[in-house]
Subunit: 215 residues, 4 copies
């Protein structure tokens, strides 16, 4: 904490520019958002990856999306054991406190976390199997997905695992009683997406058909 | 999973607009980022709150920031116990795999998570004390901060606790051996910010002085 | 060489200040840039003029822009004759070695080089026609632009020639086989700008429309 | 030219921020600079490298430095043959038209151009020997420097060649009659610097001593 340092100057400069333009132009709305609280229509769970900014892709307004970003956009199964579950806390807050109408899980291509999971599950990254590997233990959430794709030809496995990361998260979301109830009573809809960061395409999961299709 | 639904039309519409404009204008760069991988200069840990989008405030280019967003921008202490620690995984990935040069914790005013923590710690929200409350258990990370601010006059407590959320996260970051080492060898600098969502101001934590000052 | 002198004290003083502040705040990033090499997103070709600093206008981070500055931001046509072509070397390095995604030619108002070219082409500066005039021979690159603007009313000619300096450079860039290929395969986009140094405005060249428009 | 595209949005955003802050705060000075012309004290010749921005290192004000940036901060010998010599044109303009009082050649460590020259001269990059290589022909300016450092131990050669790039440019500057005259009559002083981009140090060439020393 005593090590905390001042911001690099170029960020201060840009912040000052933002304040003089974007902020100034939206002052009334920001002020209302501060006074009345947020009321986002949707929650988005996406990856920390610097190449995937959902606010850009969906032209999001301030106040529109409640956004959780973690490694590989994963949601663990419902486990109310009194331990810290940061992702589960975000889902609980979005569904019970904010009552969002949509919950969107957005995966992406070239995901480093998914590639790491594939390496771990196929025996090529023993260090990720250690208890001390936070990345490895986190990617355990995706391990059941590896079982489902390990018979595919090698070059298809990682892309298929990226899709599993979305499908497993959707499955796990339904293990949360409050998510299931909101979905079943029609208060919440779930959505699964895959964004290709190179060619910009977007696929969505078609639940009844059980596969991804272009939006 | 079978419940996954197609995207609302307004989002498809905006996505198509993004693809015809922003994507088209940046195609070459996105393609390079996909082929060569990301190389972000900084990791930002901020809140899921829909009113706080760090990419806007700092005019970020795609590829510049690796962003983790959770409830109240918290980092738990280092606990390599083999359990799932999603936030710790993001820090591990940013520092060890991406070797980011800056780690910025950005808190904000009017934080619902912090307000919940204050209610819980002051005995006004017994439900958050339940084992089954993911939010409560997550906000336990901030409990030591409550001890430090509970003697303040009532109206000052929540704003002070918002600052504690940043300071405790900075402290906890230093309990990760790989963070400490990167800081001590000069490969990483830590930064703590508080963004006021209503009036747009930005404070930064001045480590040696032990307090927040305007940028 | 034996005439080289120590730096004026005011520059040493400012350098020391930079080292104690900007450098210290960015040490980790500078160290990474030194170890891993640069990976700029864009090349900018602008004028040497002391009134035009592109890093300021665009809030550039260190490592973001590869910048060539010459008189009047000119690019000569592709001429692989074994002679020294400093500007062509910078374009070759940016496109083939660094694989930048954007190439921005930024002209500006009140350009001394363009004014000199106008004087030369309109017969008012015979000394610039001499073989020994490096400026005159360099400004020959812009001579075809003079042909296109010499019928305009006198006061419009120099501003029009400043725009020609950008347009001709864009045309000449497309005569480089490696630039053309990168553009045609979507790996590179070209941009033409005019910055008004007095009133701060910025125009961009709209290729399909064939004219400059405000950004 | 017809391929020219609009600027990426993040740059437009940052430009708008610059206009609302830096420009607005300096409007009077920018307006005077536009009306009265530039009057820079010094010319700086530095590299295009995105990691070396002399305006940052020396806290330059708008209007202070006339800056030429090329590959490896090289100046060719005086060759008034009627061909295009972009760098010589910048020197002519700075010394004869602007009458700058200082001419600073600033080299830097980890220079890609110098490394390429070393590879070429030591026989490891035959493609750079081709007539069609603009980079190779440009780096020929530094070839005499290779002769002077080729007996050094291998690891010392590239750093020594980076210094030669500065020394040879200073030598070549003195072959320009108008530079020599300005130096000899005391109207101009020459300076040679090496900036270490990783550790931020700055060395200057001590002419009488014939070596680089810390500033």
């Amino acid at each position: 904490m005593h090590n905390a340092r001042v911001l690099p100057h170029y960020l201060v400069s840009r912040y000052n520019g933002w304040r003089a333009t974007t902020f100034a132009e939206n002052r009334a709305w920001y002020s209302r958002l501060a006074d009345e609280g947020q009321r986002p229509r949707a929650m988005v769970i996406s990856c920390c990856d610097s190449r995937v900014h959902v606010t850009s892709i969906f032209g999001a307004d301030t106040g529109e999306f409640f956004i959780h970003r973690n490694i590989a956009n994963l949601v663990p199964p419902y486990t109310p054991d009194g331990n810290q579950h940061g992702t589960s806390a975000t889902v609980e807050y979005a569904v019970l406190a904010l009552k969002v109408a949509h919950l969107i899980v957005m995966g992406h291509t070239k995901c480093g976390g998914v590639a790491g999971c594939h390496a771990m599950c196929s025996g090529k990254a023993p260090d990720l199997e250690e208890d001390s590997s936070f990345i490895g233990r986190w990617m355990d959430i995706l391990r059941p997905g590896y079982e489902r794709i390990s018979d595919l030809p090698e070059p298809d496995q990682v892309p298929a695992l990226e899709r599993e990361a979305v499908m497993i998260s959707l499955e796990n979301l339904m293990t949360f009683p409050f998510v299931r109830e909101a979905v079943e009573t029609g208060h919440l809809t779930l959505h699964g997406l895959i964004h290709d960061i190179g060619d910009g395409t977007l696929l969505q999961f078609d639940g009844p058909a059980g596969r991804f299709v272009p939006v």
